[in-house]
Symmetry: none
Subunit: 427 residues, 2 copies
């Protein structure tokens, strides 16, 4: 299999002024085309250091894709660095120069002399035209290895990648292998628990491979298949996925681009249930997540952010006496919040969250991270879960919102209980 | 000057499944400490390739910081790769093992055997405890060069970086050259307007340098100064900052780590005003942003997410007749929502948002991106702003929430109008 390396060029990257999203985009495109990538490197705007990185990469890989450092200013040294690595001179590319001139003319701007530098390419290079900017890219192919340079401006880089670089690589290296991935999203289990369930199926470096990825409060299991055709890659995944799903059981809520809030929304719509939410420590995060989904107005009525205890009493009819006895962070308050918002907004089901997100406000009995999430069902039953969450304020809040959504997700899947009463579904 | 390299480990990076934000964060921290960084490398979860990258980096730099691949699963190979590069064995670190065990016990979860792998460190390594997760980091210092490994989970990585890694490097390499940055945050002006105001002060590559950075709905102006000591760097910034602030005028709401929601909260607290919010298209995002700030319960009472029109009528007393005449997305509805939530929750001031976030729901007269934000003041006056926002659903919603916060920020700064009435401030 042909292999490539990615070299991102720019002192801004080394100083941490920019996040390197270009290497990510190039990596995705190369993976999709079936080219192996074993290394990314970022290096500053220094001709000698660029030359060293490029030479080393060319010794390991069939193709090296460089991004950045092609602009007109004195600190854009990629052309010089690549020429040095290849032992070639820089020569003026007339066609590129006239394209740069034409662009300035079209935009009605004066062309400063430094822009001419952008038409200097290593001897023997083929220019890649840049319809979105001034700096052309280029390809140098010495018959053994290819070195490709594209600009660092993300839009210009992506356009060249798609239009020129990937088609060139596919033809030049007879790429046939296709990589297809499938991600199963799980909720409610730890990374190690997931890992234990599928450990014997594990096969890093085997095709298809399996990887376990932890996000905030959510664990993904990713299958990656490589095959000569798209059909064969999908077929490889199709053979492994059912086995994995069986092992993982009912913690899998969706696949690929599906989010928990989307899956919950689909479930609510399928059951014709409307939803309302009552939030305390999450301050609106649960509602915000639910309404990220376009079309969520089909099932989401709204909610009450009851941050202060008075609001819990006034807007959610949580008895002040209940709060006085059990506290605003309690199973009892959580249940009353869910019931209150369901009655107030007239929804079929409702979710509630109350807890201590930190960093302050914890006590020995009710420490930071103690969160209750509640679900009130159409049949009048209420379920409350107690969570002891770890992480900073943001993570505790996110995990709390995910746990509340998980309750709703399970309710939409429940076979027996959790059914709305006949009247409630007729609204 | 001592130099460092950053090595990000994870096949996910090479496949383009993840953006490497960790290298960016480490680069920022190293630049701040005055350590030169000449190269970043990303490599997959393969012990031999990790060993090769680490050996090469150690041959060039005084310190190598690795991130990722320290988890419990079989594809976490960073420990093995580093041990190989150093020619040392992996040994069980008892202290780390007992910390991992204690963590599982504290969380009331069963510890699976694969978690023990995380306590295996190269011989002679010093463990870095991980209060936020299970995998410890470690430092191996052979007297000449230092190699440091931290987890790939961003929160865990950042905590170790700040608490352990940077202090270690400062002491170990007697770091003295210091880079200090100061970021001025602005709101309500475009990037080109900001650029025009300060164009003649502009000095990329000069010390201190100035850069203009655009985020979603917010423009930052960044001053970067480099000097032998912290005092001198701060003094360089201190000479330039007042000039910049004068040019930028009253669109500067804060500096460095300050967020608009934090500044609004400080302003509310200073005025002893309480705040309530009524949100439609943002679905809870405004409340979520306000409550990101620890201690926001001092001034934030809560809110109503009035996603459905019935909720606007039932919970916010927006007359159904008003919605029928002007629509739920209208100046009139926005004003009524602000007044309604202020009355309902008994706050001093309130904010409201109603609009069309898209992608669907737009009409020729009320297109996607049309958003109204409102402020109701303690004196009974109401202000509504009409916004025509661009961007996808998420960006429209974020810009709408920022615009609402901007109204509150201006109200807390207003000299004459916007004062709460005497009764309202005595609550």
């Amino acid at each position: 299999v042909a292999s490539a390396e990615i070299v991102a060029i720019g002192t801004e990257l080394l100083l941490g002024h920019l996040i390197d999203t270009n290497s990510h985009a190039i990596a995705q495109a190369l993976a999709g085309a079936g080219m192996d990538v074993h290394r990314h490197t970022a290096v500053g705007d220094n001709a000698d250091r660029i030359a060293a990185v490029v030479s080393e990469a060319l010794a390991r890989a069939d193709a090296v894709i460089c991004t950045g450092g092609l602009g007109p200013t004195v600190d854009d040294m990629t052309r010089e660095g690549i020429a040095k690595a290849l032992g070639r001179e820089l020569r003026l590319d007339d066609e590129s120069l006239s394209q740069i001139r034409a662009r300035f003319k079209r935009l009605g701007r004066a062309m400063t002399p430094n822009n001419e530098r952008q038409a200097m390419l290593p001897a023997g290079a083929t220019a890649i035209p840049n319809p979105d900017g001034t700096a052309p890219g280029f390809i140098v192919d010495d018959g053994t290895r290819a070195i490709i340079a594209v600009p660092g401006v993300p839009g210009e880089m992506r356009a060249m990648l798609e239009r020129n670089v990937i088609p060139f690589l596919v033809e030049r290296f007879h790429l046939r292998a296709v990589i297809v991935t499938r991600v199963l999203h799980t909720i409610g289990e730890t990374e190690s628990a997931i890992d234990t369930r599928i450990a014997d199926l594990f096969r890093a470096g085997i095709n298809p491979s399996i990887a376990v990825l932890a996000h905030a409060g959510q664990i993904d299991v990713k299958i990656t298949a490589k095959a000569p055709t798209l059909g064969e890659a999908h077929s490889l995944i199709g053979q492994l996925e059912p086995q994995l799903r069986e092992r993982l059981g009912d913690c899998v809520f969706g696949a690929d681009g599906e989010s928990l809030e989307k899956v919950v929304g689909d479930g609510l719509r399928a059951r014709s249930w409307t939803l309302a939410v009552a939030e305390s420590c999450t301050g609106g995060m649960l509602g915000e997540m639910i309404t990220r989904v376009p079309g969520s107005s089909d099932y989401f009525l709204g909610g009450v952010v009851a941050y202060g205890d008075d609001v819990k009493a006034a807007c959610l009819n949580v008895p002040a006496e209940l709060i006085a006895r059990h506290g605003a962070v309690s199973r009892e308050a959580c249940a009353a919040m869910a019931e209150g918002v369901k009655a107030e907004l007239g929804s079929d089901v409702s979710l509630s969250i109350t807890g201590i997100a930190g960093p302050d406000g914890g006590t020995p009995e009710k420490p930071v991270g103690l969160v209750y999430v509640g679900l009130a069902r159409a049949d009048g039953s209420v379920e409350v879960r107690t969570l002891r969450l770890v992480g900073d304020r943001e993570l505790v809040r996110r995990r709390a919102a995910l746990a509340a959504l998980t309750l709703a997700w399970k309710a939409t899947r429940a076979k027996e209980d959790g059914r709305p009463s006949a009247t409630a579904t007729q609204r």
